[in-house]
């Protein structure tokens, strides 16, 4: 059973990672910086529980805050450029963060061992959960509480005027500023919210794996972050969750029996999924069908 709980933990954290890219993607910005915010949240929260002895909940709050502050600071200069240039700029930031943690030593002695981040060795023994005797199931529920809160908040954003403004900017920046929308404010705010979500997810990630290192936050992770909302579709937050399940449960775990063939098939299946459902797994039509199924079709 623990295997499934572990699976659910991975799905939960990756959903947060995907949602952090989802809200940025709504404004039409492709950011490869999400792994960087994820790393900052992970190290910040991990250091607070391990070195400062904080409880996990406030540590996660600080992790999210650190992600948000960095995202806001990165957003101002980075969002002046668009399209491919933004991809490169955010990629550079993400790699910069990874290299920083590759060289980051901050160890203190505790008894006869030293603890804390140790450069390329990584940051071991983030043992808040085992020390406090949490079972895998409890950890899973804990993670999912945050996932559900974030999904509800984003769901609410999507239905509010703010959500409509984000999508308006994503569709046509010239038209958006011509109706008085401040592009910088909208883009930086979405980046900041995305940073907070990634930071929170990073904090959770650090604690369930108990060991993080620079390579846990490489370009592949950044690519996954942006791939989830794209594969899942941008009509709604559930698309991202669906894509995480598709990738992590079906492709990564479900096809494990294929051995080395899995990696080959992995790419092919993503391409196939995008071809069959170009607007994402959960596009507007699929949503309409689901609504009808539950008799909630409000009619046009």
């Amino acid at each position: 059973m623990d295997f499934y709980y572990g699976m659910a933990q991975i799905v939960g954290v990756h959903t947060l990672l995907g949602l952090s890219a989802y809200i940025v993607l709504l404004t039409g910005q492709v950011s490869l910086a999400q792994a960087g915010f994820f790393a900052i949240g992970a190290y910040a929260a991990g250091m607070l529980t391990v070195l400062a002895g904080w409880h996990l909940v406030p540590a996660l709050g600080v992790g999210g805050l650190a992600g948000a502050v960095t995202a806001c600071a990165v957003g101002f200069p980075a969002l002046r450029v668009k399209g491919l240039m933004l991809v490169i700029a955010t990629l550079a930031f993400g790699e910069g963060v990874r290299i920083f943690f590759f060289n980051f030593d901050y160890q203190i002695a505790r008894g006869d061992i030293t603890i804390g981040p140790l450069g390329g060795e990584g940051f071991r023994q983030i043992r808040f959960f085992p020390e406090n005797g949490w079972t895998t199931a409890e950890v899973m529920f804990f993670i999912w509480v945050f996932v559900i809160i974030v999904m509800l908040v984003l769901w609410w954003f999507d239905r509010s005027r703010y959500g409509a403004v984000l999508r308006a900017v994503g569709e046509d920046e010239v038209a958006a500023q011509s109706v008085g929308i401040n592009l910088t404010a909208v883009k930086v705010s979405s980046m900041t919210i995305g940073g907070a979500i990634a930071g929170l997810g990073g904090g959770l990630y650090a604690h369930y794996t108990t060991h993080i290192e620079h390579s846990s936050f490489n370009v592949l992770v950044a690519t996954f972050a942006i791939a989830y909302p794209i594969v899942g579709g941008l009509s709604n937050v559930l698309g991202t969750l669906l894509a995480v399940i598709f990738v992590q449960v079906f492709l990564v775990e479900g096809l494990r029996f294929l051995g080395d063939w899995r990696n080959l098939l992995f790419g092919a299946l993503i391409v196939l999924a995008m071809n069959l459902r170009p607007h994402g797994l959960l596009d507007a039509q699929a949503l309409a069908r689901v609504r009808r199924l539950f008799g909630k079709d409000r009619g046009a």
Binding site: W156, F157, R159, S160, R161, Y162, A164, V165, R167, A168, E171, D172, V174, A175, A176, Q177, S178, V179, G180, I181, N182, L183, R298, A300
Partner: protein
């Protein structure tokens, strides 16, 4: 209300707009006509700030607009429509108007949170009125991309109105419309004037320009070649030669 003083915009060697002087008075409807490529849309883009003038000044109510970003100009009361329709296609008709509510009045009326994160209940009436005006009330939940061409044009005008403009720049609003639709558009423009909106109308469709404007300025190769009442412009030999051509003679 709006005054262009020797405003120029050059793209490389092309003088899209060249030393243009133009005045639009309070509650006036001024037409801006000219052949394709004569600089009409560029003039609209200069006033709304999509790019800065190469030289010259643009004054709005006596204030120099240089350096005022596009979204702030809207706060001053300048709104526009686009020649090539630029709606938010994947938002509904209703949402297209909702996101445009960025006037100072709208900003002041409600707090930050209700304004951005609140539901749609508080603004239903106001947007409903705009939808009535544009004749789109029955389509409010349709995606903008799914509207017919004429409906999209009307929605663009309604979206500009949702920003509570004092000066409205209409960039070829009648392009592609049939005679009946042009007639309706004419009614709407006159109604707007009744509400005290000043209008700069860039248009090719002569029956519309001649029918609603107080004054017309004619551009050719970026320069103003004539200005006057519709009747005077129709009779002007320079304009005939440059623009109206043989068919109007």
């Amino acid at each position: 209300m709006l005054e262009l003083q020797q405003a120029s915009r050059h793209f490389g060697g092309v003088r899209a707009v060249d030393a243009l002087d133009l005045k639009v008075g309070e509650s006036e409807i001024v037409g801006l006509i000219g052949p394709n490529g004569s600089g009409k849309s560029t003039t609209v883009n200069l006033v709304t700030g999509l790019f800065p003038p190469t030289s010259g000044r643009i004054l709005y109510r006596g204030q120099d607009l240089a350096g005022v970003p596009v979204h702030r100009r809207l706060g001053l009361g300048i709104a526009r429509t686009f020649q090539s329709i630029r709606l938010f296609g994947h938002l509904t008709v209703w949402q297209n108007l909702w996101v445009a509510q960025n006037s100072p009045e709208d900003r002041a009326r409600k707090g930050f949170f209700p304004r951005w994160l609140g539901g749609s209940a508080g603004v239903r009436g106001e947007i409903g009125e705009l939808l009535e005006f544009a004749g789109l009330a029955h389509k409010q939940d349709e995606l903008a991309a799914n509207l017919a061409f004429g409906e999209q044009r009307r929605l663009e005008v309604a979206r500009a109105l949702a920003t509570r403009p004092k000066l409205l720049l209409l960039d070829e609003p009648a392009a592609g419309m049939n005679a009946e639709e042009v007639g309706q558009l004419r009614e709407r423009i006159l109604k707007l004037r009744g509400r005290g909106v000043t209008i700069l109308l860039v248009e090719h469709v002569m029956e519309l320009v001649m029918g609603v404007t107080d004054r017309i300025a004619v551009l050719n190769f970026g320069q103003k070649i004539a200005e006057g009442t519709p009747a005077a412009i129709q009779a002007d030999p320079v304009v005939r030669r440059a623009y109206l051509g043989g068919e109007a003679a």
